[in-house]
Structure formats: structure tokens, C-alpha cells
Amino acid sequence: MTMQTSPLATSNRRFFLRATGISMALPLFESIGGRVFGQNAAVGSLAGKLVNAERPLRMVCIGNLLGFYPPAFFPTKTGAAYELPESIEALQAHQRNFTLYSGLDHGIKGGHFAMSSFLSGVKTSDAKGMPEGNITVDQRAAETLGGATRFPSLTLGSESGIHGGCLMSWTRSGTRVPPITRPRELFQKLFINEDASSLAASMDRLDVKGSILDAVTGDAKSLQRHLGQRDKEKLDEYFTSVRDVEKQIELRRKWASVPKPDPKMKEPKNTDFVSDLPVMYDLIALALQTDSTRIATLEIGGDFEASAFGLNGGYHGLSHHGQRPDAIKGLIKMERYQVEQFARFLAKLKSIEDGAGTLLDHSMVLFGSGMGNANSHTNNNLPIILAGGGFKHGEHKTYPAKGQGRQMLCNLYLSMLQRFGAEVDTFGTSNGTLTGLA
């Protein structure tokens, strides 16, 4: 879609985008019956006719910064009906709805510096050598949706942490998706409609932005003529950025006149990340239920502070337990809380009807970390749990670290993407779909 030769180029590229609607699959607004799944409806009830009776799949990825203390996370037995170790006891009630994996990882090293590869299998430093860069599984899934939901995906959680934090979500062009960090802001984004004058002001600002983007594109084209090859390639980032912002503006414009759903809950106050964690999960569940988005990513990173648990030493400090029993005890306390909140989230998803099943049936939920053992900074044998999504669950599955049966973690991601509906046969460092996943 080149703009150069279009007769509309000099005047209004945004008009071109709107007229052809190429950049996204727009939702059907024409008739109330075209509304998809509960937009503009109170949670739990649906307005108008459904487009069809099938529910789409959702994807949720949750990761933390410092992994889990392995002896309290990985069960000793494999197969079904295994005993849950201390840190994951809260998942007892859901044992049949998830699979816990041992032996999966990306085969890379780097400790904290490899964290950004958790959802992609590719370190940022290696991204240039990969055909899809270091795009993460959530963003890859988001690409398949076009503009079907108001938010192609929602990335939430801690902005930072040790060595930049989890850095979990990455786009195709190698940009880290900045997370929404606090529940109040997330709530407003999801559920607060602007009043008429605010909306008018927002639309007006979008107009100004659009007109600015036209002008600066002209500036960039004129600059381009004077640049050498490498500089031209660098300037391409600017052109790509302009297009990305224009797409965002179009999306915002389209959805501006669609009222946001009524969540039937009060706007939450921001307290601290640890106390806010259940609220974030609740908002994710609501966002999925109201089809505001179908993809959510949650980074449990630097703001997840040990002081909230009455512990001295700092989360990072505790993770370097050096085998000290009191440090390990503190670490497990923090990890149990994370698992409890995750379990609560699963229970919530189970309790929400979603067509002919529950929201959990239609949501694949990944829970784990890019850190294998924080005490020694290794990234192998990552803690990975997959719940829901209609897969068969209930077991502790192990894979060997080397040799014939070795499976890359990206194989799991590939399976997830295919189940999600993406037409892909590789992802990241995958060498097939995950054996043993049904």
C-alpha cells in the first residue's frame, strides 16, 4: 500500500485509509444485530442478535520477573493426580484444568538479560537475525484480529524491574509494548466513556494529530532524498511509526462512537501493585468477557515488592537466597501469593458463562516465567503452566533437557497460536507443535 502514486497522496492519506478500510477488519456497526458479543451491553447479558453462536478464543499470558523456587514449584511425580508442592497448593481446586510442564525452555542463557525472550524465544539482541524478529506470542496472536475488538491486546503490569523488568511483550518491529501499570487507568481505558465534550475534544485532537502526521510524512520524504543507505533504513522506522500511529488513530476513531461496556463495578483506586493484583485480574476477566479485547498480557515485575509481605530484603534479594532457609521461606510466601491470585483468576473465568461453555474453556492461560532459577540466574527448565483453552489438562508433563524428546517452549506457543486461529506453522524457535498437547 504505497502512498506515493495515489492522487490522494498530497492531500489526505487518512482518507485513503478510511475509504479502503484495508488496514483492519472493521466490526459491523450498521445494525444493532451486527454487534458482536455484548458490546454496549451490561456484563453478562447480550444486546441484539449474535453474529454467530461460536465464541472466539482468548489468550492470557502471565509472567513474573524472578521465576519460582524450583523445589516448591515442580512436583516430584509426573502424570495425573500428582501432589502439588508448597508454592502451587492454591491450584488444587483447578488441578484438572491445567497442565504443568517440566523441561521446557528456549535453550538460551542470560539470566535477567534473557527475560525479554519469555514469550518469543528470541533475545532482543538476536532479533535482527530472525524472520519475525522477537515478536511475542501475544502480539502475534493480536496481529490476526485486525480491528475486531476495541483493543487488539492489553499489556498490563510492571513497567520496570531489575535490568528493565520482565519486558514481556514485543511487536514485530522490535518495540517493547509498554504496559498499563495501574488498575484505575486500566478501568478508565476499558469502561469510562468520555462525556460528549471530552469526546469532541478527543476527536478534535485526533484530527490535529492526523494533520500533523500528513505534514511530517512530507518532511520525512524530503529528508529521505538526502540520506545514504543506512540512514534511509533508519528513517524507515519513522515511516513505519507514522503508519502505526495512523492505524491507531483509525481504530480509536472507529470505536469512539461505540459506547464502552458497563462493567457493573466501581472504579478501583490505585494502592500498591501487590494489593492491586487481584483487581488487575478482575479487570482482565471483564475485558475478555465484554470482548473489549481477546488478548491480555500481565507482567509481574519490579513493583511486586517484598515489603508488602512484611519481608525485609527485597524481592530480588530474596531470590538470591543462597540456600538460607529464612530467605527461601520469604520467597515462597511471595510466590504462593502469586499463585493464589492466579487460582482466583481461573476460578473467576470458570464462573463466567461464555456461550456453550465457560470463559475458561475459551481462554488459554499461560502462567510462568522466563527465569528458571533466580539464585543461579539460569533460564532453563522454566516454570510453565497452561490452563483452559479447551486443551486436555490435568497432568504434570515432563520433557527431557536434551536428545530426542526435547521440546522447545516455542512449540507450546505454536500450538497455542494454531488453536487461537492463527495460520502459522512456525513461531520463534519452534520445531513443530508441542508433542503431548491435545
Binding site: 542463557k109 538476536d126 537475525g129 531489575i162 528493565g164 511487536t171 522490535g174 518495540t175 517493547r176 509494548v177 509498554p178 485532537r205 484530527d207 490535529v208 494529530k209 494533520s211 500533523i212 502526521l213 500528513d214 505534514a215 511530517v216 512530507g218 518532511d219 520525512a220 524530503s222 529528508l223 538526502h226 540520506l227 545514504g228 543507505q229 543506512r230 540512514d231 533508519k234 528513517l235 522506522e237 519513522y238 513505519t240 511509526s241 507514522v242 503508519r243 502505526d244 500511529v245 492505524k247 491507531q248 490505585n270 515489603s307 525485609n312 530484603g313 527485597g314 530480588h316 534479594g317 538470591h320 543462597g322 540456600q323 538460607r324 532459577n373 539464585n375 543461579s376 540466574h377 539460569t378
Partner: protein
Amino acid sequence: MAHSLASLELLAQSLMLRSSFLLTGLVLVLEAQPLHAAAETPKLHHFLSTYCNDCHGAERQKGDRRFDQLELPASKVDTLIDIKDIVDQINLGEMPPKKSKQPSSEEQKAFIDQITAALTQGRQALASTGGSTVLRRLNRHEYLHTISDLFSLNMAALDLTTKFPRDQSAEHMENLGDVLQTSGYLLDQYLDAADAVVEKVFAQQKPVKEEAWHFTKNFRSDLKRKEKDYNNAHLLVEECMDSDKHTAGFGVIEDFVNGVPADGFYEVLVLVKAMNREHPYDPKWFGTDPREPFRLGIVPGDAKAGPLDLPQPQQPMLAEVALDDGEAKWFTMKIWLDAGHTPRFVFPNGPEDARGTWFKIAEQHKDLWDQFMDEDDKVKGKIGIVAARQITLHVHKHPHIRIDEVKIRGPIAETWPPASQQAVLGKEAFLPGKVRERLQSFADCAYRRKATEDEMNRLMAVADQRIQQGYSPLEGFKAALKAVLCSPGFVYLSQETQEGSNKLSSRALASRLSYFLWSTMPDAELMSQDLTKPEALLSQIRRMLLDKRSDALVAGFLDSWLNLRNLGGMPPDRGEFEEYYSKGFQEAFKTETRMFMRDLIDRDASLVNFLNSDYSFLNQPLATHYELGELGDPTRAHEFRRVSFKTDKRGGLLGMGSVLTITANGIETSPVTRGVFLLENILGTPPPPPPDDVPAIDPDVRGAKSIRELLSKHRESPNCYGCHQKIDPLGFALENFDAIGDWRPRIGKKKIGSSGELPSGEKFEDVAGLKKILVQRKDLFARMFTDRLLTYACGRRMEALDEATIERIVADLPKKQYGLRSLIEAVVNSEPFLSR
């Protein structure tokens, strides 16, 4: 020889930019010969064919690996992966397998050296940008400084970039053209920030009437609780700003939480008294020196940014005074406040932990418990926090600051229109007829060159579109201003060269120089010079280094070279290192190192002082931390000053808290981490990364093994030893410094040994001995420093082609006694800096 081939490639690439017809000829020539010109390459292949290719060659590819056609020198990522694999397997002793033919240890060592060099060169080749800086965008700091200067806007409490994605960095440098990226997220933020700043600048359309406020009551020291302190008649500040529990460190005016109505200067008058500087309690409870006068400070607070009784992201110290004892006195402070911000009172040298002291004080007054305990406390049989506080207040002997009245007046009329509007409009008010003229003037400034006719037409189109939609000419003008701030002309530094040459034009040089020395846009004087003339250039460098804006060079360069911007990234443990917070070490450490470098520039003194010195710049808390005793007058305890000392434990970077903290992880120290840091940033000889399969040390600090014992494995394996004999001794020399740079003679019961031996055979007993050896190796340091300074200055990494430049600069240093200012001048006059 590998070097010269790399040079040929680089030369070819740079020629490519100028004459494409030459390109085809040159490339054909290069491709005709297989790239085996490097002397090492045949040796590498010889080793591989002797020991590896039988199983990893044409006939068999065991483990899916094949090395008989290894592309050397390496230029592809896949080749580098293969090479790394080979290096690791041999270092670990896994390959060749025990049953197969084994190389002698000399052959093996030679091979490892050569193949590791091939790996390093391959990585450099991949990162190469052909010896040119790639189109470089402003990073966050540069953006902020530029906006501030463009609009003459006070931005101390305003950060427009809080939602900007992080800048991409390499080697801790955040200003490298090829590494920094522009993304849709960033551009969206540029649009929002442009909107915010232009709206802010033009918010005041008529002079704001000065107002006055007077607060005498309804003071609540703790916004969370309801009980009355002093009948709410006084505002109390009882602890330092960064205590663990953040209970009583901020004095907020309850009736003024929404702050001032408009941006401007405000006069704040406070009737205040230092209470109980002399007190009957154990000084250790408070962690303060009773001889120091209390200091009262003002920081801004933004109710929208979060709770006002907690630290906020933007809280620069707006004013600070020392309080007397005796009767309450009026103090007047003039501060800048942004609209919506309220002044909050702080106690910078206050007690560490108010909460803890209330309990301790209550313990001493059990006779009062009955009177003050509430129902819950009585049931539990323990005094609660509320009662403890009330007892403390009742007894009234604890140190605190007491504020009785506050008067605020403002905004104090300055110029009209406000300075920031004048920066855009000049001295006259806005006139619809002058839109294009004012826009041209603004764009010329913002683009750091004259805006072209086409650019101006596009900007006018933005303004006109607005006007056609029914908005005022001022609104049109504002929209066009926003467009300027998002245009590539503003966002990217110019790559303009002189006619027919690779040398930067004068105005491109002005920008590069300005962002190097000031991290902001060039001023009018710099733009007016012909910087292609050496005398003009030198004169400007000297002017710029004398200007306060060059503090940005010191801060920016130290943040990059020593990674000081990440100080606090691994926050030291509150339990063990409380003083890091209560004594403000994070800021103090940075201040010390910055003042040290600033001083070297100002005096053109030797950069060898970084390696060892008999002085530094300290305040009293640092002097105490470094065991240097009392500096003198306690009323000046907070002031930084030059301190000479006789001890050889301190001095130079290796004695500074900043370096010692950034090389630890907030809990414990690692000689390997510190050793690597020294190799990278002091000696400039970074070691290669460790092999992938080394079992990571699962640290066991239950005292059973010392770190020296744990790391002894490095000495046992000859392959590990190759690198670790360079790394470990340097780190062990620093083991006497804990994770925040405090000196410790022992860990637990074990005395720490800091002696070591360098690969050259030179021995040292302790860190002082190591520093003496480093001083002898000063040219290595100078070389590394020059490389870093050139990288920071040019916005690109130095490559093989640049080595000659670096060598020349270093060779000239002794003539100037290694003076730092002279080095900066040499860097600016160098070919890489003057060229694209």
C-alpha cells in the same frame, strides 16, 4: 591481517555512499577471492580439519554440526553461533571427545585465542555501521533539555516523557544512532508531549492576578489518621524523605492540596521552629547528628500523581534552609511551582524512622499507657502505633520540625507575556498576520537550521486546516508548532556534510557539539560560528565547557560509561543498608563522582586521577561512610567539598560508593562481576562471555564456603583459567567493600583476603597495590576512556578504522599531562567527530 580486510570492507562501504559505480567494481573484486586473506584463517581451518571435520565435515555431520566450510572471517549470525559453539565445547573440555585425537595444550590455547578473536571480530562486523554515525534521534534526556531551552520553560517538576518507551542502549550508551529506534509508541508520545507543552505554554492568555493564602490551622501531619496532633494547630515533619515506612516525612497543607492556580514563581513564608534538637534519647534511635542544625526543604506535590504524604516521581528540592533553635522564626523562600502543584515541607537530615522511635519512646513511659491505649490495644496488651505517637507528642521531647503558619503569595508578576510565550513569539503579542514569520523563526530554531520553503508550506497547511475548521489563528499557529516538534527535522540530528566530502557541515557540527557538551540544542552564538574553522571550533569548545550546561556532559557521560543511571536498579537491602536511603547515598554517590569529573575538566587535570587520587568530593554522611571522620563544622554537614585524605583505601573510582554499588547486586558482592566491570570500563579489555553450559554457581552463602573457595573451580580448569585469571583477581581486590562500598575487614568470622596476581605476574596485596599497578598501565585506561568519549560524542561505536585516531590521541596525551579538558578538545577535533 583480518584487520586490513575489515578495513577494506569498511572502505568499500563508505565509498558506496558516494559513488555507486565504483561499488560494483570493488564488490566484484572482493567476491572473486574467497575471504581467506586473514593469516589466522588458514590456521583455524587447519585445526578444524585435523581435530573436528572427520565427525563434523563433508562425510558426517554429528550433532548436526558441520565445520569444514565455516565462513571465516565471520559475517553472518549463523557463523557466529557455530563459532561460539566451538569455543564453548573446547573450553569445557567436551570436544574433541576423549577417544579422539587430542590437540596439545599449546595448540589448543592458540586455537582458542584465534577463534575467540574471530568471534569478537565477527560480532564487530555485524554491528558495524561502516564507520559512520547512523541517523540519530534525540534520546529522552536530550528531548527534555531541548524542549526546555526551546520554550525557556522551567521543567524541574514537569516530565513530559514519563510514558515514553525506554531508550534502546548498547554498551550502556543511550545515544547511538544505529541503536536508538523510533516506534509508533514513541511517535504517539511525541504527539501527546507536543500537545501538552504547547498547550501549557499558551495556557495563560492574560496576566494572572496575584493571590495570597494564609494557613494557620487545620494542619494534619498524617493525612490518614483522624486524631488531632497539637489540636491540628501545627504542621509537623518528623523524619527524612526516604524512610522505609514513609510515615511522617512530608508536611502537606491540608487546605491547599489542589495547589497553585497557575505556573509561576511563588513566595512561601513559613513560621517554623526546630524542636528538641537536643533530646534525652539515644541518638542511635534517630540516626542523626544532634550537632547539625535541622534543615527544612520544600518539594512540589501533585495530588493527581499520587498520595501527597509519599515520595513522588518528580520532587526536586525547590528550596532548603537551616533552622535555628530558639523561638519560631519566619523564613521566606521563592520557588517555582507548576499549576496544580502544592508545596510540601520536608526534613532532609531528619530521623531515619519515626514510627520505630515512637514505640521506643512509649516504652519509656509505661505510666502513660493506661491513659492513651485504645480498646484494641488493651485487648492485645500492647501499645499500638496511634497510642505510641500520642504518648510521644504528649511527652514532647522528640526531635521534629514544627510549622506554625504558612503564607503563600503568587504568581509573582514577572514579564508579560510569560517567558515561554516570548520564546516563541518574540517581544510582541501574537498577531494573525505574522503567523508564517513566527513559525519560520520557531522552526529554524527547532530544526537547528533554516526551515525550507516546502517545510514551511506544510506547516502553514496544518495551521490553515485548523483555521478552516473554524478555529482561531492562534489555534492554527499552535497546531503548526506541535507539528514542528514531531517532524524528523526536530527529532533527528542532521547528517548534512560539506560539498563533496564526508565532513559535517558547520551547522551539523554545531548540533553534534551541542548535544555532546550540553545534551541540548545549540544556542544562537554556536549557530552563528563557522565551526569548520579550527580556531572558531576551539573557542566554542572552551566557552561551552565553562557554561553550566556542560554539567549535562558530566552526568550523561558518567551515566553511560559507568552505567550510573542504573544506580538503584538493584536497590540495596533496606534491612542491612538503611543508611543508603536515610542518608541519601544514591544521590550523594552520583554527586561525588560527578563533582570529581567536573573538577578534572575545570582544572584540565589528569584523568589518571580516576585510577587513584588522594582526594574526593564529599559531604559529611559520605565522609562518615568512608571512615574519614569529621569534616568540620556540623552546620555544613550537607555541603559537598573537596576533601584530601591520607588513606589509600579510598581515592579514585575504585574507592567510590557509586562504582562499588553499581557493581554489586544490592545484597552481596561478586568478584567476577566487579572484575568484569574493571576489565570493561577501566582497562578496556572486556573478557568474552562464559560458555553456555557452565553450571551456574548456585550461591550458597550459609557461610560454609567463601566466595574464593566457590570460585576456585576457575583455577582448576586450564580453559576457565584463561579468562578468569584476568577477571577474578581484580574483583577480589575489591572484596573488602560491601554492596554499598562500606569497608569490611571480614565476612562473618573469615578475614577477607584481597591479594592477587595479574596474568603479567604483577602481585598486589590489596586494593591500594592494585591501583598502583593500574596507574602504571595508564595508557590502557586512557585508550579505553578515549574510546568511550568518542563513542558518546559521535553517537556511534568505534571500529577498526578508528583505532588509528584513538592511538594518535592517546599518544598526544602526555604532552597535556593527560588533562581531561585537553582530551575533550582532542576528541572534538578528531576525524570521527568532524565527519559523518
